[in-house]
Amino acid sequence: MFEPCRDVVCSFWSYLNQGPMTLTIFLHTLIVLPMIWIYFDEKKRLERGDIPNE
């Protein structure tokens, strides 16, 4: 199931690099996913109306 790393030196990042897209999808998820939390947090605050209109 897992591809062996074939680089000169294998590190954490090379093991995540499991053929097409795995590493990059992992990094993108890490970056984008928490925006969902930011979204709901902002929504809560806006609904409470405790944000001054900018």
């Binding site: 990042w13 090379s14 690099n17 897209m21 795995t22 590493l23 990059t24 993108h28 984008v32």
Partner: protein, 474 residues
């Protein structure tokens, strides 16, 4: 025409713009020499060799863009913050020091050219690293001047109004300045050398400069269209998110073949593939605002600035976005890396992303200095924007034809050797592409002539519309 009271900072901005436009001319001149040498290799051989002409071509580009960028900040800073720039005397002194240093560096480039293989050459003549050849002493000087600039910006914003545009600029400028330090050391390890070199080059042009452009573009939209500040700033934050989100790790597309680990293939390919997205956003945003304001019957307050801003968004998307994406995937880049492909991409990208918006900012300053309510497009201004834009676009197409040929013949058919290189360089298609590049370059130079003329004279030569003549006659 009434005179207009400017902030001292805006007077300084005009000085920066003036030096910028002169260096722009130098860039075109040395580019012309290099373009001629591609066709006639004996042209100025041993006097101004290709390496020197090309170095001056790209260094003039970087330096004039930085001048114009600093100028634009000094222009908009008091306007946005609502107060005179703090430490304006220091800022003026820094301008003269920087300009004197640039003059010395250029003279050394021109007349000393190269040095012996010693540390002293790196310190006093050239560092020999594409784009950041400036010798070490000049590096340190640049850092000092930039520190003064950052002090001006930060101190002013602290005391004045803190708008979203200024917040983005403050964060962006400190990153921009800090990154320069990554290019200021020497190492025998060429792979490590290029690794950090790309931190400066890529994280400037594909991250911090792009965000700078988004911020200044927002300011120009407010100035020319009276666009809603809240909407402009929302777009600005979206663009910052997307530009840094894709651009920072998009750095990986320079780490495919320089002795870096293989995992960069994936990181570079996918992150940089997303780099065009914010550029589409910028484009849509400007056109959307334009349509909306026209719908309300509002007139554009500075037509040339707005026209150049439109060229910027379109050119940025096409040059940086489309032309960049064309060769950013490692499977393709294996064959296009180190050919005319990056040259084709670079010409349209630098023009679209940066040159156009800096010219737009200059027109804002021209309008502000003349104190005109509205600035209309003159005939000369129209010729300038048309000749330069069409010229650069066709230049890019010509270089792309040459690039295809080089990739096919040198890389595909001959396996990238010395013999293969020259087989490609003497191929008919390649030579025609390079020939058309020279022709289109001449068009750009003529356009530059119109541009300089127009920047100086356009407030005096404003076209008079029919209604106005009738009113004057009555």
């Amino acid at each position: 025409m009434q005179g207009n009271k400017l902030y001292q900072s805006q007077e300084l901005a005009i000085k920066y713009f003036t030096v910028a436009i002169i260096l722009f001319g130098a860039q075109l001149l040395f580019g012309l020499v290099a373009a001629i040498q591609y066709l006639y290799p004996d042209f100025l051989f041993n006097t101004l060799d290709f390496s020197i002409a090309r170095m001056l071509h790209i260094n003039a580009l970087v330096v004039w863009l930085l001048y114009a960028m600093i100028g634009a900040v000094y222009w908009l800073l008091p306007d946005e913050a609502g107060i005179e720039v703090v430490g304006i005397k220091l800022a003026n002194i820094a301008f003269y020091i920087l300009t004197a240093a640039v003059a010395v560096v250029v003279l050394v480039y021109l007349f000393v050219q190269v040095g012996p293989g010693k540390e002293s050459t790196i310190w006093f003549i050239t560092e020999g690293r594409e784009y950041i050849e400036a010798p070490r002493w000049a590096d340190i000087g640049i850092v000092a001047v930039v520190l003064v600039f950052l002090y001006n910006v930060y101190a002013t914003v602290m005391r004045g109004r803190q708008t979203g545009i200024l917040t983005v600029l403050m964060a962006d400028l400190i990153a921009l300045a800090g990154l320069y330090l990554a290019g200021m050391f020497y190492t025998d390890n060429i792979a490590v050398d290029q690794y950090w070199w790309w931190w400066v080059v890529h994280l400037w042009v594909e991250a911090t400069w792009e965000v700078y452009v988004a911020a200044v573009g927002g300011y120009i939209l407010i100035k020319t269209l009276n666009a809603n500040r809240k909407v402009v700033e929302m777009w600005l934050w979206i663009e910052v998110a997307m530009m840094f989100g894709s651009g920072i790790l998009g750095l990986g597309h320079h780490y495919f073949w320089i002795g870096t680990p293989e995992y960069w293939w994936e990181i570079g390919a996918l992150f940089s593939a997303l780099e065009p997205v914010p550029l589409i956003g910028l484009f849509v945003h400007v056109l959307y605002d334009w349509g909306k304001e026209r719908g309300k019957g509002n007139e554009i307050k500075n037509v040339p600035a707005f026209a150049w801003l439109t060229v910027e968004t379109f050119g940025n998307f096409l040059g940086a976005g489309v032309w960049g994406f064309m060769h950013t995937l490692p499977q393709i880049n294996l064959y296009t890396h180190g050919t005319q492909w990056p040259a084709a991409h670079g010409h349209l990208a630098f023009y679209g992303a940066y040159v156009a918006i800096m010219i737009s900012a200059m027109y804002i300053a021209v309008q502000g200095k003349a104190g005109l309510e509205r600035l209309k497009m003159t005939k000369a201004g129209w010729w300038a924007i048309s000749l330069i834009s069409v010229g650069v676009l066709l230049m890019t197409v010509s270089l792309t034809v040459a690039a295809y040929t080089q990739t096919m013949v040198e890389r595909g058919m001959h396996g990238a050797t010395w013999e293969g290189y020259f087989a490609a360089q003497s191929n008919m298609w390649f030579l025609q592409g390079i020939g058309w590049r020279l022709v289109t370059g001449l068009a750009v130079i003529v356009g530059y002539g119109f541009l300089v003329y127009d920047l100086i004279t356009c407030p005096k030569h404003q076209p008079v519309e029919e209604g106005e003549t009738a009113a004057a006659a009555a």
